[in-house]
């Protein structure tokens, strides 16, 4: 089974290469290759659940060299969780692109960049080597800079440039952090770094590296003091790419790297979790408050991404704080479980909401909420899907978002952070408020003049939305036993190793 690991990176890279070489001007062929490739990746990532529970952690040695010398690909529970998010969301976005991308020229080139981005993200979550992580991170980032500017209009270029400048600054900080880690320890393998951290004799160089990592990955994950690029970059991209960026990219190259590095490669001190909790709370509150004032549908969703990532950081921070202070194990487990559960849920409903925004834009040509009243009568599937997504994101039971938020809030209460639990509930209510605004203005309410002729989007665009809407409801089941033990608990175990 572990020989299949390089295919997660190799398959999209190879398919992208073939599309560019042979089918650059053949959009129909490019559709087929990209979708078959993404279908394979989604199936393989789901199949990996089974092999992970059968064989334990899978390792693939690149070129046959063992860990400190060579580069390893490692599939553990946490990588698997992200791998499922990336490839399933990527598959649905690829199907959606078939019809949606018709109105852009150069669809084949779009698929090349799309597959490159997926390859980069798969590499980031699979690699066991710190410098290799940086290389894959740059692959994913550079292709996302291109995709943000793909529309070739004034504002897309502007957003792309802004995103690129901040992304490059973030990458620079990350590379400096990696160099400092190497200077302090002389190894780049994550397993060896975590052994060194566990022994506890870390130098000041190590702590400085930690500060650089927090800055760099915080920028990539758009946590609140570093969030300014996200509301420009994510709405400017084509809708399936917005779904990938907001639903997947900020998790794979932001949150995943922060959690992996600080939970596994640094000895947990009470200081770092405190920063996590501060960043998380600030993201939650500021993101939600800024989202309420937006009238552009996609921009509202982008601000809401910042807010929801705050929940993940809050959960992880509370878990880490309990681990660092030697508190009860079940509280730490619950907090980290809540954070990871919210991570996978957010991938579902935020991808869905961005796809519905694309569908509305596809039919009506506008993203302004005030201009698209009463779309629901003409576009029932889109409206139903958007309703499911809105209910899930604002945490209405029995949708998936409710359960993960409940876990985080309960963990906060059990750890004694009553005030943070109160803020988390308050932000959830604000979330409900601005999604009710979306529902009222965009989908329900009186029908607007001039929209008599709009039609529901084609079947290939409806299919991913229906699948994701069903998942919004069904992913609540991840909290109950057989699915939780297969998917969420291995990931929690990886992060709470230090306990």
């Amino acid at each position: 089974m572990n020989v299949l690991l390089p295919l997660f990176i190799g398959a999209p890279l190879g398919c992208g290469f073939v599309i560019y070489l042979a089918f650059r001007n053949r959009d129909d062929k490019a559709d087929w290759i990209a979708n078959v490739c993404m279908m394979y990746l989604a199936a393989a990532s789901l199949w990996s659940i089974k092999s992970l529970s059968a064989y334990g952690v899978l390792t693939y040695r690149m070129g046959g060299y063992a860990a400190p010398v060579g580069i390893n690909l490692v599939l553990d529970g946490f990588s698997l969780l992200l791998l499922i998010i990336i490839n399933v969301a990527g598959f649905l976005a690829a199907i959606y692109s078939v019809n949606y991308m018709e109105r852009f020229t150069a669809k084949a080139k779009y698929y090349v960049m799309f597959l490159l981005m997926v390859a980069g993200m798969n590499g980031v979550v699979l690699t066991g080597d710190l410098f290799n992580l940086y290389v894959f991170l740059e692959i994913a980032s550079i292709s996302s800079y291109v995709l943000v500017g793909f529309g070739c209009e004034r504002e897309q270029f502007e957003a792309s440039f802004k995103y690129m400048v901040l992304g490059i600054v973030a990458s620079a900080f990350i590379l400096v952090g990696i160099s400092l880690m190497y200077a302090a320890t002389g190894v780049l393998s994550m397993v060896h770094l975590s052994d060194i951290a566990a022994q506890g004799n870390v130098s000041g160089c190590f702590m400085l590296a930690g500060a650089f990592f927090l800055m760099g990955f915080g920028l990539k994950a758009a946590l609140v003091p570093f969030h300014a690029w996200l509301p420009d970059a994510h709405p400017s991209a084509p809708a399936p790419i917005s779904a990938m960026l907001s639903g997947v990219l900020i998790k794979a190259i932001g949150i995943y790297c922060i959690l992996r590095i600080f939970f596994n490669m640094f000895a947990m001190t009470p200081m770092v979790p405190f920063i996590f909790m501060m960043l998380g709370t600030a993201s939650m509150v500021v993101g939600a408050l800024l989202a309420t004032g937006q009238w552009d549908y996609k921009r509202l969703l982008a601000y809401s991404s910042i807010s929801q990532m705050g929940y993940v950081m809050l959960g992880a921070g509370v878990g880490a704080r309990v681990i660092a202070s030697g508190g009860p194990a079940h509280v730490a487990t619950l907090a980290v479980l809540g954070a990871l559960f919210h991570l996978i849920n957010h991938a579902g409903f935020k991808s869905l909401l961005f796809l519905t925004s694309g569908a509305v834009e596809f039919s009506t040509g506008t993203r302004d909420l005030r201009k698209m009243e009463g779309v629901s009568q003409r576009m029932p599937v889109t409206a139903a899907a958007a309703t499911a997504g809105s209910l899930a994101i604002s945490g209405v039971p029995p949708f998936s978002g409710f359960w993960s938020k409940l876990f985080i809030v309960v963990a906060c209460l059990q750890a004694g952070y009553n005030f943070l639990a109160f803020i988390a509930i308050g932000v959830s209510i604000v979330t409900l408020a601005y999604f009710l605004k979306v529902q009222k203005y965009a989908f329900f309410g009186g029908r607007k003049e001039g929209f008599e002729k709009i039609k529901e989007v084609p079947g290939l665009m409806c299919f991913p939305m229906i699948v994701l809407a069903v998942m919004c409801l069904a992913m609540g089941l991840l909290a109950v036993s057989p699915l939780r033990e297969a998917i969420l608990e291995p990931a929690v175990k990886v992060l709470t190793k230090q306990m």
């Binding site: 410098f131 290389v135 740059e138 550079i142 800079y145 291109v146 500017g149 070739c152 004034r154 504002e155 270029f157 502007e158 957003a159 792309s160 440039f161 802004k162 690129m164 400048v165 490059i168 600054v169 990458s171 620079a172 590379l175 400096v176 160099s179 190497y182 200077a183 780049l188 300014a228 420009d232 400017s236």
Partner: protein, 116 residues
């Protein structure tokens, strides 16, 4: 030690250019300066005063080689980082050219259709 600090000063100069300059091309130059300072830092980590190139042949004794040679890994990393830097800078410059075509200026204060 002072040379490491100078490396961070160079990084700071690049960052200053990226954050404070109003001209797109000056921002690109700032990014380039930042990348050079990172490459310099990486090379410095592997550097050893009076060391030899890390190439081993039949006559060298392994222990002697380890004592004398510089660390080859950061050099390999610098090569990778230079290639990534090339890709990033060329992409940035091409976006700058397209921005100039659309707006007719390189001044970033005049390019603001998006609300912050």
């Amino acid at each position: 030690m002072i040379i490491y600090l100078l490396c961070f000063v160079l990084f700071g100069i690049g960052l200053h250019a990226v954050v404070n300059k109003k001209n797109l091309i000056k921002i690109v130059v700032g990014v380039a300066i930042m990348e050079y300072s990172m490459n310099l830092l990486l090379v410095l980590i592997g550097y050893r005063m009076g060391g030899v190139a890390p190439i081993i042949d039949r006559e060298t004794v392994a222990g002697e080689f380890v004592r004398l040679s510089v660390d080859p890994l950061p050099q390999a990393m610098v090569l990778t980082s230079i290639v990534i830097g090339l890709g990033v800078i060329s992409l940035m410059v091409s976006v700058c050219i397209r921005l100039y075509e659309k707006y007719g200026t390189f001044d970033i204060t005049k390019i603001k259709e998006l609300r912050g």
